[in-house]
Amino acid sequence: MDHTPPPFFKRGPAPLVRLFFFASLSVALLVIDARFRYVDGLRTWLALAAYPIQRAATWPIDVATTIGGYFSTQANLIQENERLRAQVLANMQDAQRYHALQTETAELKRLIGAAEKSEVQTTPAEILYLARDPYAHKVFIDRGSVHGIRPGSPVTDDTGVVGQVTRVHALLSEVTLLSNPDQAIPVEVVRNGLRAVAFGGGVSGMLELRYMGANVEVQNGDKLVTSGIDGTYPPGLAVATVVRVERDLERSFARVICQPLAGIDRGRYVLVLNNEAGRPPRPEETQAKERRADKTRRSKARDKQGPEKGGDDSQ
């Protein structure tokens, strides 16, 4: 009994076989991408292929804004103008004070011989769209390697830090938001200079300060700014406000929840800071080698001394 169909009914391999083939191909890709990052080239090409559609998808919003702007009334415009003028005045005052303080700081720094902090270069960018992935907390901006964006650059908006560039394609790049659970940012409390690390809280959109002792001096309403210790984020950028501090006697750590200041899930225009110049040089390979050699030398010396000074440990 032969049950195979005649050749003119042939439809290729059975669906189950095909499913198995494509599923194993996908799983292989997943593992390669998650563990080894070998497929970044393929990803860049695919992203370039998807770019025209992505670009087109922002067009309805642009049209809506244009039409909305066309119909905005004169009263609205006058009101907005007044508000902006008042804001400019306030900003000017701040700016003047900032300049005065900057010169003063520069002088003081020169006095104590600290390294001159270099100016941070910025690139304005527009958010194209959110990653279609509720797990990811990522956005895509319309500036890429062509425009000089580098992976690792901090991204801010007008109120504070938004996130960090994690992947750069030719024409667009991917920004991981602060609320991403894998994202950490070094901060300090403005009020007392206490240093901490803020981690993304995931779906809640909040940030969390981890590993803070139960008796740590943090209050509700404390402002957090970047400390600049990591060399990635320039110091002094606004990050978040503390909204809740839970001190549990049973735990040795306090739970500190903060609300990000920047509109990490709203707003359309962001600023990419190119902090490359301000970054300290990477430790050289030779230094690491030297240290290793030094360590082995020391351990050898200890071995040599060991038999003679055997009684040192007990004292």
Binding site: R18, F22, L30, L46, A49, A50, I53, A131, Y135, K138
Partner: protein, 168 residues
């Protein structure tokens, strides 16, 4: 009951299929506010073509679209590819059964298929060490299933034999 596939339709044009996929990708890339509540339009259109034209659109197309979605969204490469392959398989497998029902009952099948697809993505993400994004996650697939009658009507428009010119 008359199977809804019994209407005599004109043969499908390749441009309709490609155009619908481009439109679906476009809808997916719109800047939505909460993505958990938005149906995955590509998955919906893919399911439609797999059910209607299982010999033209199948696992290969699904897998390629999945790769495109992965790269465009900056997620693990292969996550949507896996999910869309599964979706294409289920749709092709169930296509003859689904077409026997009316549009409303078809939606129920599609809801199940979309939920399984979402579950595949969830398993991959949890395996990769992400947190569970909350139960609103099921709203998207269910919304997609509710859109099924609309999608069916829209995508069959170019194939209908009418005295009037089709709208698209």
């Amino acid at each position: 009951m008359i199977p809804s596939s019994s209407q005599i339709l004109m043969p499908v044009r390749m441009s309709t299929i490609i155009g619908s996929f481009v439109l679906a990708l476009f809808l997916n890339y719109l800047p939505w506010r909460d993505l958990r509540l938005v149906p995955d339009f590509v998955a919906l259109v893919l399911a439609f073509w797999c059910v209607r034209q299982p010999r033209l659109v199948g696992l290969g197309v699904g897998w390629s679209l999945g790769l495109l979605a992965d790269a465009g969204n900056g997620v693990l490469l292969g996550q949507h590819a896996l999910a869309y392959s599964l979706l294409a398989f289920l749709s092709v497998w169930l296509s003859r059964r689904i077409l026997w029902f009316g549009t409303m009952l078809q939606s129920l099948h599609i809801a199940l298929i979309l939920l399984v697809t979402q579950a595949a993505v969830l398993v991959v993400r949890l395996g990769a060490g992400d947190a569970f994004p909350g139960w609103p996650l099921v709203v998207g697939p269910l919304g997609g299933a509710l859109l099924w009658p609309v999608v069916t009507w829209l995508l069959l428009l170019p194939q209908r034999r009418n005295d009037r010119e089709p709208a698209i």
